[in-house]
C-alpha cells in the first residue's frame, strides 16, 4: 500500500516536471496516439487493409480513401493503422527482452570476476561490430524473413547497448562509498544487488529503453522496406514504403503516407524520451 503510494507520488512529480517541457508534451501526445491506434486498430480501420480493389489503384487522398490507395487499390489509411500494431509489437517485445538480457549480463559483468567481465565486453564488442543492416540481412538469408526474425535480430544487436550501459553503471556503484559501507556491514551479495544496485541501475535503463524504441521501429520498417521483414501482404509501414517505392512514378501517396507515421513515431518517442531523461536525471534536476 505504502509502496504504491510512493510510486504514485513519483509519477505525479515526473508529470509536474514534464508539463514544463513543450516538446515532451508533443512527444507524449504522439506516443499516446500511436499506442492508441495500435490498441484500437480493429475499430479504427475503414476497410480490410489487405482487401484489393484494383479499380481504385493509385488514388490520391479522398473522402473514401483518406490517404489514397496503393498499386493494388488497398486503403493506405487502414494499412497505416494496422501497421502501427506491428511496429509497436516489434518495438515493445524487442526492447523489453533485450533490456532484460542486457540488465542481467551487465550486472554480472560489473560485479562478477574479471574474466567474466572481459569475456562479456568481448561479446558486446563483437556483436556491435557487425554493421547492423549487413548482420540483419545475413541472418534473414539464413532463417527467412518474418516478424519473429526481425525481433530476434533487434534483440541480439541491442543487448550490447544495454549490457554496456548497465555494466558501467554497476561498476560506478560498486566503487561508491555506500556500497563499500554496505559491504562493511556484512550485506550479502543478493542483498547488495537487489536493494542497492538494481534500483539505482533501473532508472537509467528505463530511459535508455525508451530511447531505443524509435530505433527499433525504424529498423523494423527498414527491413520490411527492403523486403526482408514482415511478409506482404501484411500491412507493415515498411511494406507500404516498399510498394510505394516500386511505383514511385505512378503515385507519391503511398510513399508519403508510409513514411510519415515512421517519422512521426520516432520523433514522438525520441522527444518524450529526451524530456523524460532531463526530468529524471538527478544531476539536471538538482539545478533547476
Amino acid at each position: 500500500m505504502a509502496r504504491t503510494h510512493k510510486r504514485l507520488d513519483g509519477l505525479i512529480e515526473i508529470w509536474a516536471h514534464l508539463r514544463r517541457e513543450p516538446l515532451g508534451i508533443v512527444g507524449l501526445l504522439i506516443v499516446v496516439l500511436v499506442i492508441g491506434s495500435a490498441l484500437l486498430a480493429d475499430a479504427l480501420i475503414l476497410v480490410d487493409p489487405v482487401k484489393l480493389s484494383i479499380r481504385d489503384k493509385f488514388m490520391p487522398p479522398s473522402l473514401a480513401y483518406p490517404l489514397g490507395t496503393d498499386y493494388l487499390g488497398r486503403d493506405i489509411y487502414s494499412r497505416v493503422i494496422a501497421g502501427s500494431r506491428i511496429a509497436m509489437t516489434a518495438a515493445l517485445v524487442a526492447v523489453s527482452i533485450s533490456a532484460g538480457i542486457g540488465l542481467v549480463l551487465g550486472i554480472a559483468s560489473g560485479i562478477g570476476p574479471r574474466w567474466l567481465d572481459y569475456s562479456m565486453l568481448l561479446l558486446f564488442d563483437t556483436l556491435r561490430s557487425f554493421p547492423v543492416v549487413m548482420f540483419a540481412l545475413a541472418v534473414v538469408t539464413l532463417i527467412g524473413p518474418s516478424l519473429t526474425t526481425i525481433i530476434l535480430i533487434i534483440i541480439v544487436i541491442s543487448i550490447p547497448l544495454f549490457g554496456r550501459a548497465v555494466r558501467t553503471q554497476t561498476l560506478t556503484l560498486k566503487n561508491s562509498e555506500f556500497i563499500q559501507s554496505e559491504i562493511a556491514m556484512g550485506a550479502s551479495l543478493p542483498r547488495l544487488m537487489g536493494v542497492h544496485i538494481l534500483p539505482n541501475v533501473l532508472g537509467p535503463i528505463m530511459i535508455l529503453a525508451a530511447m531505443e524504441i524509435p530505433v527499433v521501429i525504424a529498423m523494423e520498417a527498414g527491413l520490411s522496406f527492403l523486403g526482408f521483414g514482415v511478409r506482404p501482404p501484411t500491412p507493415s509501414w515498411g511494406n507500404i514504403l516498399n510498394d510505394g517505392f516500386k511505383y514511385i512514378r505512378n503515385s507519391p501517396w503511398p510513399l508519403i503516407f508510409g513514411g510519415a507515421p515512421i517519422i512521426l513515431t520516432t520523433l514522438g518517442f525520441t522527444f518524450l524520451g529526451e524530456s523524460l531523461r532531463d526530468v529524471l536525471d538527478p544531476r539536471l534536476r538538482k539545478e533547476s
Binding site: 563499500q180 554496505e182 562493511a184 556484512g186 550485506a187 536493494v195
Partner: protein
C-alpha cells in the same frame, strides 16, 4: 583491560602491473600500501591513525574491516584471527565492528530513507526480535536528530546531518569497535566539533573502542588515547597521544605538529618546512624512506633503514636521529 583488536605485522598490497610487464621493466608489480604495521586497541580505548594522503591509513582500516584483502600478518579481534576468513566467516564479527566512511552523504544508499538506512544493520544480521520503528527513533534520538528525519532521503540532509545518520547506522548494533575514516572531512569547523563531541559522548557511554583516521593532529589529542603516524604505509611513530604531542621524536611528526599553527600573528616562523613531496609508493627511497624530505637527514639515513626504537610509556619511533627532548617541564 583486555585487548579488543590486535594487529601484527600487517601488510596490504595491490597489484599494479601484470607480472610479465613488471619483469620486463624490472619493477615491483605490487604497490605496498601498508607494510608491516603492528598495534593494538584496548577495550573502550580510542586509537588514532594520522598521516597525509597516500600514507595508507584508509587502506589499513579497510583491511581490518575485511573490505581489503590483507597480504600478510595478523588481525585478531576479540582473540579471533580474522585474516583469511571467508566472507561468511567475517560476517559474524561484523556485528561487533562497524565503519564510517569519509563522504557523509555518499556513504548512504541514495534511494533509501533514513529509517531504512539506520535499520539496515538489523535486516542484514537478521535481528527480528526488536521493533524496527522504535529502534530507528531511538537511534535518531541518540545522535540528536528528531523523528521527522525518518522519511528523508540522503540528498535532503546537510553534511552534518548525514554524518549523524552515519553515526547512528554505525552504532545501531552496539558494536565493540568503530572505525571512523576522516569523520570530519568536508565539514566546517563549527560543525566538526558537533560530530566529534557526539562520537566522544557515545564512546564513553557505550564503552566502544574507536579507530579514528584523520590528517588533523589537533583533533587527535582530544580524542584519542593512543596514536600512530603513518608515512608511506609504515608507522614511523606510535605512542600515547599526549606523549607524542609533548615529546614528538620523529622529525616528520614534529613537522606535522607544527603545520597547523595557532592562529597567533606573533608566533611567526614556527612552522617546519619539509623539502619536496611525499615519495611514491611505487618507488620507495633507499634507507630511511623519509630521508629525501627530512630536514636533519645524515648520510646514514640515505643508506640504512632505521629500526624501531622505544621510549617510555609504549612510545616507539623509527629514526636514526630522533628529535631531542627539550622544554621538559
Amino acid at each position: 583491560m583486555s585487548r579488543l583488536l590486535e594487529i601484527e605485522d600487517l601488510s596490504v598490497r595491490y597489484r599494479m602491473l601484470p607480472s610479465w610487464r613488471a619483469a620486463m621493466q624490472s619493477q615491483d608489480p605490487y604497490l605496498n600500501a601498508v607494510c608491516g604495521v603492528s598495534f593494538a586497541i584496548e577495550e573502550g580505548q580510542s586509537f588514532a591513525l594520522v598521516g597525509e594522503s597516500g600514507s595508507g591509513k584508509s587502506t589499513l582500516a579497510r583491511a581490518i574491516m575485511g573490505i581489503e584483502k590483507a597480504h600478510s600478518g595478523s588481525i585478531r579481534f576479540q582473540g579471533h584471527e580474522l585474516r583469511g576468513l571467508s566472507k561468511r566467516g567475517y560476517k559474524s564479527f561484523r556485528r561487533n565492528m562497524s565503519m564510517m566512511f569519509q563522504d557523509p552523504a555518499g556513504s548512504l544508499s541514495p534511494r533509501l530513507t533514513v529509517k531504512r538506512l539506520i535499520t539496515e544493520p538489523f535486516l542484514i544480521h537478521q535481528i527480528r526480535n526488536t521493533n524496527i520503528e522504535d529502534e530507528a527513533i531511538k537511534l535518531l534520538q541518540m545522535v540528536g536528530l528528531g523523528s521527522e528525519f525518518l522519511n528523508r532521503y540522503p540528498h535532503q540532509l546537510s553534511g552534518g546531518q548525514a554524518r549523524r545518520v552515519g553515526v547512528a547506522r554505525a552504532l545501531a548494533l552496539s558494536p565493540k569497535l568503530l572505525v571512523a575514516d576522516e569523520p570530519t572531512a568536508g565539514l566546517d569547523v563549527s560543525v566538526q566539533g558537533e560530530v566529534l563531541n557526539l562520537l566522544l559522548e557515545l564512546q564513553q557511554q557505550q564503552n566502544i573502542s574507536v579507530l579514528i583516521i584523520t590528517h588533523n593532529l589537533n583533533v587527535v589529542l582530544h580524542f584519542a588515547d593512543r596514536m600512530a603516524i603513518m608515512y608511506l604505509g609504515r608507522f614511523i611513530e606510535q605512542g600515547a597521544a599526549q606523549e607524542i604531542f609533548l615529546r614528538p621524536r620523529h622529525p616528520y611528526t614534529q613537522a606535522l605538529l607544527s603545520s597547523s599553527p595557532e592562529p597567533d600573528p606573533d608566533s611567526k616562523g614556527s612552522r617546519i618546512e619539509l623539502k619536496g613531496e611525499v615519495s611514491s609508493n611505487m618507488d620507495r627511497p633507499a634507507g630511511c624512506e623519509f630521508h629525501p624530505r627530512c630536514p636533519i637527514a645524515q648520510s646514514l639515513c640515505t643508506s640504512t633503514a632505521p629500526r624501531e626504537s622505544s621510549a617510555d610509556h609504549g612510545h616507539s619511533f623509527s629514526c636514526h636521529y630522533p628529535v631531542a627532548i627539550f622544554n621538559e617541564n
